[in-house]
Amino acid sequence: MARAASTAKVELKGVKKRFGPKIVLDGLDLAIPPGQSLVVIGGSGTGKSVMIKCVLGILRPEGGEIYVDGKDVTRVRGRARDAMLRKFGMLFQGAALFDSLPVWENVAFGLIQGRGVARRRARDIAMEKLAKVGLGPEVGLLSPSELSGGMQKRVGLARAIAADPEIIFFDEPTTGLDPIMADVINDLIVKTKAVGTTTLSITHDLVSARKIADRIAMLYKGRIIWQGPTSEIDNSGNPYVDQFINGRAEGPIQMEVRG
């Protein structure tokens, strides 16, 4: 059946994903308009990372459709998938830097391998992006294992923005960082948003969410149970959202002992 092309930059329609008997995404619907910064909040193990990995094709959903620029990319493979991925940048929770490469080559990796940019030119761009995240050229020559957690996150961010992607995903961008470093990362994300990049961040850091989001959505039991402008999060009228943002143990969300 033909579907009308979506105007959203990224759209998920009824996406389902399960691991064995455990249902992780249960008909998830979400749309991100171009240039918007959407933050998805939710407890640990609610499927936030799985959602991002389904969009990127790292995981294959069992049901539903995923659209990027109105094109169904749910089961796209080969060169078409490579072309789709060139629109994306991604900051992983643990930065996921390649141990075997120096920092500058990590940043330039997508340019050299994914886009065929010459090494010398890619190195210049990498140094420029490192400077944008506040890291000097001397850091470019270090190995990722020589960096602190905060610096690794900044390198991860430099890698995510290296090719000036249209869409950037941030997976728990501030988790494990001290409050000052977390704010540095938040500022950098706000700067990327300012140039018109569409961003999707997943976090349970409410301070970060309030700073970087245009809209916030809450994921619970594989579905979006509430979404709205950031300014409305404190008056959502949704007991699940209220419990989550106020960090209360009592409420409709019961912590599952087993995943």
Partner: protein, 259 residues
């Protein structure tokens, strides 16, 4: 406990694993002929798999050749057939012990290293990061290792063959009282191309098995440190068993065709 259910579960599990390995193998082998091929990574892996395995393979081959000569002498002397020691050492090393000993040593060294490296990359999301940078992990990580193992193993085995025969020569001349010139002359007369090439064909197959199982186990490792540990153990155990099984099958095939 229902014994039939347990056997059935184990059988289904085995078939599932064989199916997954087959799909992985087809994906990897079909990537051999599709660009891009990362030749610099192939060369790097040849150094790691082939060159750095030389000391361990060489030492093992030397002592195996020496012990083989000593043991054959014990058996042959019962029938007054000591003059056949050089020939039997040569054939034993070229056709069986050279490739098998080299295969098992490289399996212990290389399959473990590959599985640990790729396993760590998997659990730290580095393999996912490759995908998001529009680089196919099979092409970037698996194909160079497979190619390097297939190229390196015959060279390693050729060197192991020479050192093994030399080990037999040293044991025979220093301990068993053989004259050096006669030993060498007998060895050269007994040298046949089919003995050399049957061992080298085995080496190619063993190299493929080692890299394939190292990559497969690393690629599919789950969890944290424990998962990487299990992947490493499985890579060594499964590649060692498969090398011995493949050796038996190949020897039968060579015998059938009188090769």
């Amino acid at each position: 406990m229902n014994i039939f259910a347990a056997v059935g579960r184990a059988t289904l599990g085995l078939l599932l694993e064989i199916g997954r390995l087959s799909v992985f193998m087809v994906d990897a082998v079909s990537s051999f002929v599709r660009p891009p091929i990362y030749w610099s990574l192939v060369l790097k892996q040849i150094m790691r798999i082939g060159y750095f395995s030389l000391p361990v393979v060489g030492l093992t081959a030397f002592f195996t050749g020496g012990v083989l000569a000593l043991q054959i002498y014990i058996g042959a002397s019962r029938y007054g057939a000591e003059q056949f020691v050089p020939t039997v050492v040569l054939v034993g090393i070229l056709r069986e012990l050279g490739p098998v000993i080299a295969g098992l040593m490289v399996a212990g060294r290389v399959a473990a290293a590959i599985a640990a490296e790729l396993g760590t990359m998997r659990v730290t999301e580095q393999i996912d990061a490759l995908t998001t940078l529009a680089t196919r992990p099979i092409k970037y990580l698996v194909v160079p290792r497979l190619m390097a193992a297939i190229i390196s193993m015959p060279i390693l085995v050729a060197i192991a063959d020479s050192i093994g025969v030399f080990g037999g020569y040293i044991a025979s001349t220093e301990t068993l009282g053989f004259t050096g010139a006669i030993y060498l002359n007998t060895t050269m007369n007994a040298l046949a191309n089919k003995d050399i090439f049957s061992g080298l064909i085995k080496a190619v197959v063993f190299g493929f098995i080692i890299a394939l199982l190292g990559c497969y186990n690393g690629f599919n490792s789950k969890g944290g440190a424990q998962g990487v540990g299990s992947a490493t153990t499985n890579a060594v155990v499964s590649s060692s068993i498969l090398i011995l099984a493949a050796n038996y099958i190949l020897t039968n095939i060579f015998n059938y065709f009188n090769f």
